[in-house]
Symmetry: C2
Subunit: 254 residues, 2 copies
């Protein structure tokens, strides 16, 4: 099987013009087939504020009412996605911007209301790779916005990490997939304040130890659990690293 | 060659939810391969106003400064394009939203400044159909936003009529193309106030007569001149009609 890298870059990089330029130059230079998944949360907050729409967050998650859905459709699907696509095309990458509605590629269900009504938020259901995989084989680089689709005419707001792992798992049927999460630190760190303390390799066995002795804690725990879940679904390798060094950081394997 | 319809629908239909729903239901039911090109001018004006950005028009053309380029990228590339794609997918059409940057499919040059600086406005240069034509053959329906690309990282604002004729001409090398302009009247009318006075067929010969005796005048003259230009570039037939009746109206042939 051909190798494919699915790389997720967060909102903090996307909204910083200089950081984004540097990241995209690095991404363009990466050899092989690839897919880019981007966030864009803070840019949406900014545009919403300019439009007089208040951003409501619960436990770090955006409440997406009808007005906010319009904003994220404009910002994630338009401003951020097309900006990234244009910048990649200028760097010789044949990028194609996609939301879940395009080619019906990312289907989700609107999250059922329990304690909290998150509004137009989608829980991923199915990634349709039939046309997508062929485009990738032809050298096209899909650039995925964090917007899924309910199949009935409505886009839904979905976390970019979730989009990335869903896309990686689905494409693992056709490619040997490495899933890379780019974030602000150099990898999974022994000392959260020291970028030099990167743990180069985590296996399912070593993870148990790192979790039980408290080396890995907080928000990194679900990240790593999701990583192992992706590996168990056929993804070959997961990497957690800094946006400007997608080929280093922490490698996670079964 | 297989038949293909390239259909352009204007901003007035796109921003009216009911009219758009009716139009998209009709479009989805149209048999055969197809491409949709949409406008969206007034929606951009509305969002710009909400953001405190003033819309400047010269001779009916939007001046696109950096702020307005952000707005049209959000509105044309995000809000309108993805809304149309989602609505078509819900109707069983495998739609794919595109700007000129996606797949590098619509290259343009920034309009040179003469008397007026139109800003980020693009004059169409090349439509790359290499991947596009294959997708169309597989039943994908491209939904094109009125945004072209300079190849150097910048999207450009381009009139949707121009996008439609450029796309139709380029695809005429691979398909037998009918180019349909949907607008608010039933076709080219003998009496502009009477929708029943549609001229069913205009040829190059009859056009000369209609122009010289004043039956066709004003804004319809350049529309028809563009139609003949498209026909001379390989498009098989041009039709000017109402959005809710894309298969009637005025047929224009050489």
């Amino acid at each position: 099987m051909e190798k494919l890298t699915v790389l997720k870059v967060g909102g903090a990089v996307v909204e910083d013009t200089q950081a984004l330029d540097a990241f995209l130059t690095g991404f363009a230079a990466m050899p092989g087939l690839k897919v880019l998944v981007h966030g864009g949360g803070r840019e949406a907050t900014k545009v919403a504020a300019q439009l007089g729409i208040q951003t409501k967050m619960v436990d770090g998650r955006r409440i997406t009412d009808a007005d906010m859905l319009r904003v994220v459709t404009m910002v994630y699907g338009g401003l951020v996605n097309k900006g990234v696509v244009a910048a990649l095309q200028a760097r010789g990458v044949n990028a194609l911007g996609l939301t879940g509605a395009d080619l019906g590629c990312m289907l989700a269900v609107k999250r059922p209301v329990k304690d909290i009504d998150y509004g137009y938020v989608g829980d991923m259901q199915k990634v349709d790779t039939s046309i997508l995989a062929d485009l990738i084989s032809r050298g096209v680089v899909p650039v995925m916005a964090p917007l899924s689709f309910d199949g009935k005419g409505t886009l839904l707001n979905t976390n970019a990490d979730t989009i990335a792992s869903s896309v990686a798992k689905a494409l693992a049927e056709r490619f040997e997939v490495t899933l890379v999460y780019c974030f602000e630190k150099a990898g999974v760190l022994k000392d959260p304040d020291d970028d030099a303390s990167v743990i180069p390799l985590i296996t399912k066995e070593s993870f148990a130890g790192l979790a039980s002795d408290g080396t890995v804690s907080g928000g990194m725990l679900p990240k790593l659990q999701n990583a192992f879940e992706a590996l168990e679904s056929g993804v070959k390798e997961v990497r957690i690293t800094k946006a400007d060094a997608p080929e280093s950081g922490t490698r996670i394997v079964l």
